[in-house]
């Protein structure tokens, strides 16, 4: 058996299948609300306010915000999926059935992470596709956009696994969403260009990881970006690797998982 076959063996595929089954089974909570919320952003910011803002960096406003809005849903969807799935499984201890199985901790971390990645992608791509006719946008580099979307969803899904393991109460999970991820997403240059900010805020923006992700997605869609896109892509990939290392650690050494 090759290394690849053994890493993606039946045990791994079963857990990944379970993760997909979970979010599909509760699709009214996992797939529809984020799609709806994002479309409201498109309508309110794009259609209603877009008439006043018209263009940013020479790009029609709705086109300018669409990659970021889709990425915001993708980030939240991926994070929420894994954090709640892992937290629920830990709280009700059915994760024990997985932890005592012959799967390695890396396989467990990867299966959970890929489950959330897929949900993030479904929601993100859904928002993008539905928003495209309104924005009249086309994608300059679809393959690059997909690569960025997968990497970003993977990063936040892995982060969700860490939080799901570490969180002692469900409000720790929602705290991360409401107090960390949502504000970072809003301040990540989704609705404006960093050029429009005063110098101090512009520098602060550079410490926001979501800013790089939005900027990279905008580059792949519109060939317009604030930063040089290649170092940005390297940062996004490094964050994904870091987040997965965290998820692996969480399954192996995380508190309240293996006593």
């Amino acid at each position: 058996m090759t290394l690849l076959e053994s890493a993606f063996n039946r045990s791994f595929r079963t857990l990944l299948g379970r993760e997909i089954l979970r979010f599909v089974r509760v699709w009214t909570q996992t797939l529809i609300p984020p799609l709806l919320t994002s479309l409201l952003y498109v309508v309110v910011f794009g259609v209603a306010l877009g008439g006043r803002i018209r263009e940013v960096d020479g790009i029609p406003y709705l086109q300018y915000i669409l990659p970021g809005v889709a990425l915001m849903s993708l980030v939240t969807g991926a994070y929420m999926n894994t954090s709640t799935s892992v937290f629920d499984a830990k709280r009700e201890r059915y994760i024990d059935d997985i932890l005592i199985s012959p799967m390695s901790d890396a396989q467990i971390a990867l299966a959970y992470t890929l489950g959330g990645t897929l949900r993030g992608l479904i929601v993100g791509v859904g928002v993008f596709v539905v928003g495209m006719p309104f924005a009249g946008a086309s994608v300059a580099n679809p393959l690059l956009l997909l690569l960025i979307a997968v990497t970003v969803a993977f990063t936040f899904s892995a982060l969700g696994a860490v939080v799901g393991v570490v969180a002692a109460r469900i409000d720790h999970v929602t705290f991360m969403t409401n107090v960390v991820i949502q504000p970072l997403a809003f301040l990540g240059g989704v609705f404006y260009s960093a050029d429009m900010l005063p110098p101090a805020l512009r520098i602060a923006t550079l410490f926001n990881p979501i800013f790089y992700m939005v900027d990279a997605a905008r580059y792949a869609t519109l060939r317009a970006s604030y930063m040089n896109p290649y170092p940005t892509l390297a940062i996004v990939a490094a964050l994904a690797a870091l987040a997965f290392a965290g998820a692996w650690w969480a399954m192996n050494r995380g508190p309240n998982l293996r006593y």
């Binding site: 039946r10 045990s11 979970r22 089974r25 997985i98 012959p102 293996r258």
Partner: protein, 249 residues
């Protein structure tokens, strides 16, 4: 009865201290022969569940060795865990799955081929009278049914050794007798059973060999008859009371 060579389970010097300083296991050594029906008894907090959890890596022991049919439980965990089935003390069924899915997904986690898993699940659903409930979500089941699903789940990957942690806790008398009968049948078929229980009559009824754990160490171990003789006791309950320090007058 089929008896294999070598012990099914060999635990040597197992130590575990929790983060809060509680010493749960202080150098536990234990050997369970293949095909035996082994009872692990002890008061609450004696270390029974910690011992089982340490064997299956749910607890991380600080030291010691565990071998399952000769396979190191840590270095060769994949092989070792495949041979172990666990029915835990607390109900821990996946609420997103139906009864049938609980068995099939568990079999998948253990790498059991799909066709074989389906056949085995069918057999166990039948055996535990769960056929009518196969499409029901586990969260909608009664306590006794949940217990039966957990039991079936522990068996669906055909383990060679079965850990039953208080399997009849909160179960009505009728189901308890049926579960006893089924466990006996599994043991007669060659499966090694490690049972922890509070019900001393359960140990008396089922187990050939018993270990009494108290304060994180094995306080006594032997066949039922040897222990009764050693402690001049009429039954397991008296042995238990003498070992854990509450002598019966």
């Amino acid at each position: 009865m089929i008896r294999e060579d070598g012990p099914a389970l060999k635990v040597e010097g197992l130590k575990k201290t929790y983060g809060n300083g509680l010493v749960a296991l202080s150098g536990v050594s234990l050997e369970v022969g293949a095909g035996r029906f082994f009872g692990l008894l002890g008061p609450n907090g004696a270390g029974k569940t910690t011992l089982i959890n340490s064997i299956v890596s749910l607890a991380r022991p600080d030291g010691g060795d565990v071998k399952v049919f000769g396979k190191d439980a840590f270095a060769e965990y994949k092989e070792a865990r495949r041979m172990v089935g666990v029915s835990p003390q607390e109900v821990n069924l996946d609420k997103f799955l139906t009864v049938e899915e609980s068995l099939l997904y568990h079999a998948g986690y253990y790498g059991v081929e799909k066709k074989k898993a389906k056949e085995r699940a069918e057999e166990l659903l039948e055996r535990f009278a769960l056929i009518d409930k196969r499409k029901a979500r586990t969260s909608t089941l009664s306590g006794g049914m949940k217990r039966r699903v957990m039991f079936a789940r522990a068996l669906v990957h055909d383990p060679k050794i079965l850990f039953l942690d208080e399997p009849t806790a909160g179960v009505d008398v009728e189901l308890r007798y049926r579960l006893w009968e089924y466990i006996r049948e599994l043991n007669r078929g060659g499966m090694t059973i490690l049972l922890t229980t509070h019900y001393l009559e359960e140990a008396e009824e089922l187990c050939e060999e018993i270990a009494l754990i108290n304060g994180g160490t094995i306080a006594a171990q032997g066949t039922k008859d040897d222990l009764k003789e050693e402690y001049e006791a009429r039954n397991v309950e008296e042995v238990y009371l003498r070992v854990v320090g509450h002598d019966v007058a």
